[in-house]
C-alpha cells in the first residue's frame, strides 16, 4: 500500500469530535483523525468504545455535540445531503428491506441516487454477480441467510459507486470463507476505484489484514493511530525462542554470548530467548551460533508482537477481555 499521506487532501477529516448524551456520559470525546483517498482505515476497539457512534456522526445519522468533521470537503453538521450522495453505509444491524427482493432493493437504491432504467438494472446485475447473489435475485430478502443479507447490504451500499464507504463491523456473523471474500472485494474496490473505506471492527485479524491504518479507540478516545505494522513494532522487538537439546556448559555459554554480540539474550529452562528487531531475518544467523556452540535444537519459535499487544500497550487492557 502506497503512503496514504501522499494522496492529497484527506477525504475524511475529523477534529475533536464529541458526542455527549443527555445524561452527561460521553460516547466519543475529542476524536481526531484523517483518512485519505483509497485508504482502508479501521476503528479498532471493544463494544461500547465509541466506534459506531463515531461512524454514525460521520455518516450523518447522529449529530455531534462538539468538534467538527468533513467528508469529501462537506461539513457533516451542515451539509448532510451533499455527503449522503457520495457515501455508502453498511451498518452493524444489516439494513435491508424485508418486503423486497434482492434485485428490487438494488434497483430502488440506484434510483434513489438518480440512476435510471437500464443503467440501474445493469449496476444491480453487476453487484449481484460480485457478491454471488445472482441466482437469488428474485427471492425476498427475508429468506436470505445472515451472511447473504450482509452481502446484499454491502452491494446496496455500493450501487451508486460511492467515494467513501462506511462499514460498521462488516464481517460480524460471516463464516471465515465469506470474510476473506469480503476482504478481497474491498481491496479490489480500493485498488480499482480508489474507494475510501472507514470501518469499525473488534476483530484483531481483520484490522491487521485489511486496514492500511488503524485507530485504537477506547472509552470514546483514540489511544493511537498508525499502520498495523508500526503499531505492532512500537510494542517492542520480536522474540526468537530456541529450545535446546541439552543444557549448555560454560564454554558453550561463552560461544553463545560472543555469537550474539551483546544482544538481549537469556537462557530459561533450556530455552534460549533472543530479542531481535526482525525475527524472520535473524532466525537463521541465530541457529548458526547455536550450531557453532555444538548444541542441538529441539524446536524454534519466532514470536512477533500482535495487535492485541499493541492494544494492551496503548489502552492498558486486552481487547478480548471485553468480548462476551
Amino acid at each position: 500500500m502506497a503512503d496514504a499521506q501522499a494522496r492529497g487532501r484527506p477525504v475524511i477529516q475529523v477534529r475533536d469530535l464529541e458526542k455527549r448524551y443527555r445524561d452527561g456520559t460521553y460516547a466519543v470525546r475529542g476524536v481526531s483523525f484523517d483518512v485519505h483517498r483509497g485508504e482502508i482505515f479501521g476503528l479498532l476497539g471493544p463494544n461500547g468504545a465509541g466506534k459506531t457512534t463515531t461512524m454514525h456522526v460521520l455518516g450523518t445519522l447522529h449529530r455531534a455535540t462538539g468538534g467538527a468533521a468533513r467528508i469529501l470537503g462537506h461539513d457533516v453538521a451542515h451539509q448532510p445531503h451533499a455527503i449522503r450522495r457520495r457515501i455508502g453505509f453498511a451498518m452493524q444491524d444489516v439494513g435491508i428491506d424485508d418486503l423486497a427482493t434482492a434485485e428490487e432493493m438494488l434497483v430502488f437504491h440506484a434510483r434513489l441516487h438518480g440512476i435510471r432504467g437500464r443503467e440501474a438494472r445493469r449496476r444491480a446485475a453487476e453487484l449481484l454477480d460480485t457478491f454471488d447473489l445472482t441466482k437469488h435475485r428474485k427471492r425476498r430478502v427475508t429468506a436470505f441467510s445472515g451472511g447473504m443479507q450482509r452481502r446484499l447490504d454491502l452491494a446496496v451500499s455500493l450501487i451508486h459507486d460511492p467515494d467513501v464507504l462506511f462499514l460498521d463491523e462488516p464481517t460480524t456473523g460471516l463464516d471465515p470463507h465469506s470474510r476473506e471474500d469480503l476482504w478481497a472485494t474491498l481491496r479490489r474496490l480500493r485498488d480499482e476505484r480508489g474507494l475510501t473505506v472507514l470501518m469499525s471492527t473488534h476483530y484483531m485479524d481483520e484490522a491487521d489484514e485489511l486496514c492500511d491504518r488503524i485507530a485504537i479507540i477506547q472509552d470514546g478516545r483514540i489511544a493511537a493511530i498508525d499502520t498495523p505494522r508500526h503499531l505492532k513494532r512500537n510494542v517492542g522487538a520480536d522474540t526468537i525462542q530456541v529450545e535446546l537439546g541439552a543444557h549448555p556448559d560454560d564454554w558453550q555459554k561463552t560461544v553463545l554470548r560472543e555469537g550474539f554480540r551483546g544482544a538481549p539474550v537469556r537462557l530459561r529452562d533450556g530455552t534460549l530467548e533472543l530479542r531481535v528487531q526482525d525475527g524472520g531475518e535473524s532466525l537463521l544467523p541465530a541457529l548458526r551460533v547455536v550450531d557453532r556452540a555444538g548444541l542441538s535444537v529441539r524446536s524454534t519459535r519466532v514470536l512477533s508482537p500482535t495487535l492485541n499487544d499493541a492494544f494492551l500497550k496503548y489502552t492498558g487492557k486486552r481487547l478480548e477481555e471485553d468480548e462476551p
Binding site: L61, R63, V94, L99, H109, D153
Partner: protein, 258 residues
C-alpha cells in the same frame, strides 16, 4: 421520478406483501358495513329518526361512519410497514441516502393514504350499490373519501408514527384502535342525536369524530349546504390535533437523531 416518487412507489409495492393489513383493510370494513347495516337497519322505523318515512337506506346512513372508521383504522395500520423498516434498520439505511427522513415518512403516509382511499372506494361502491349515489353526486362521494382519509391521516396516522418511532412496537400502535372505537360509539355514527341518551348526546357534541360523521353524512344524504360547516369543524379539529402531532413527531425524530 423524484426521490419522493421512488419512495412512494416502493411503499405501494410493499402493500400486497403484508397480507394481514390488506385482508384486515378490505374484509373488515365490508363486514362492518353489512353487519352494522343489518343489525341496526330497523332503527329507521323509529319515529324521530331522520330517515323515518323516507326511502333512504340505513346503509346509506352508516356508510360515512364506516368509511371514516376504515380511514382511521387503516391509517392506524399504516405504521406496520414503517415498524418493519425501523426494526430491520432499513429506516436508518435510508437516512444515509439522498432520501430525506421527512420524505421517507411522508411517502409512507401518502402510500397508506392511497391504500385507505382505495378501501374507502370499495365501501362507497358497496353503499352506492345498496342505496344509490350520495345526494351530492360523484363529487360528493369523492369528497367524503378524501375528507375521511385526510382526517384519519391527521389523527391516527400522525399518532402511530410517533408511537412507531418511540416504541417500534405493533402493540403500542394498535392501542389506537380501542380509543377510536370509543370515540366512534360516543358519536352519532349509528344513531341520530335525538335518539341517543342525553349524556351520550352531550359527549358527542364535544367529539371531533362526530363533527366529521355529521359532515360526511350530510354530503351523503342532505346535500352541500348543511354538510360543509360540520365538515369544516371536523377537519379543523383534526388539523389542530394533526398540528400538535406533527410537532411531537418532529421532536421525537430529533431525539432519534440525537
Amino acid at each position: 421520478m423524484t426521490v419522493f416518487g421512488q419512495l412512494y412507489r416502493r411503499n405501494l409495492r410493499q402493500m400486497p406483501r403484508i397480507p394481514a393489513v390488506l385482508v384486515f383493510g378490505i374484509v373488515m370494513p365490508i363486514i362492518q358495513l353489512l353487519l352494522f347495516g343489518s343489525v341496526f337497519s330497523n332503527t329507521v322505523d323509529i319515529p324521530g329518526h331522520p330517515l323515518f318515512g323516507t326511502d333512504t337506506s340505513y346503509y346509506t346512513f352508516i356508510a360515512p361512519a364506516i368509511i371514516l372508521l376504515t380511514a382511521v383504522i387503516g391509517m392506524a395500520n399504516s405504521s406496520a410497514a414503517f415498524i418493519v423498516d425501523l426494526r430491520t434498520g432499513y429506516f436508518d439505511k435510508l437516512r444515509t441516502t439522498p432520501a430525506s427522513p421527512s420524505g421517507v415518512i411522508l411517502a409512507r403516509l401518502m402510500a397508506e393514504m392511497t391504500r385507505v382511499f382505495l378501501q374507502g372506494v370499495l365501501i362507497m361502491g358497496l353503499a352506492v350499490a345498496i342505496g344509490g349515489l350520495p345526494e351530492t353526486g360523484l363529487l360528493g362521494a369523492f369528497l367524503i373519501l378524501l375528507a375521511a382519509v385526510v382526517f384519519g391521516t391527521m389523527t391516527t396516522g400522525m399518532a402511530v408514527m410517533i408511537l412507531a418511532m418511540k416504541t417500534r412496537s405493533d402493540q403500542a400502535t394498535q392501542a389506537m384502535f380501542p380509543l377510536f372505537f370509543l370515540l366512534l360509539f360516543m358519536s352519532t355514527a349509528f344513531m341520530p342525536e335525538n335518539l341517543l341518551p342525553d349524556w351520550l348526546a352531550t359527549i358527542a357534541s364535544f367529539n371531533p369524530v362526530d363533527y366529521m360523521i355529521q359532515g360526511l353524512r350530510g354530503l351523503m344524504i342532505d346535500g352541500w349546504s348543511n354538510a360543509l360547516v360540520d365538515l369544516a369543524i371536523g377537519l379543523g379539529l383534526g388539523a389542530a390535533v394533526g398540528f400538535v402531532l406533527v410537532l411531537v413527531n418532529v421532536r421525537v425524530y430529533r431525539r432519534i437523531l440525537g
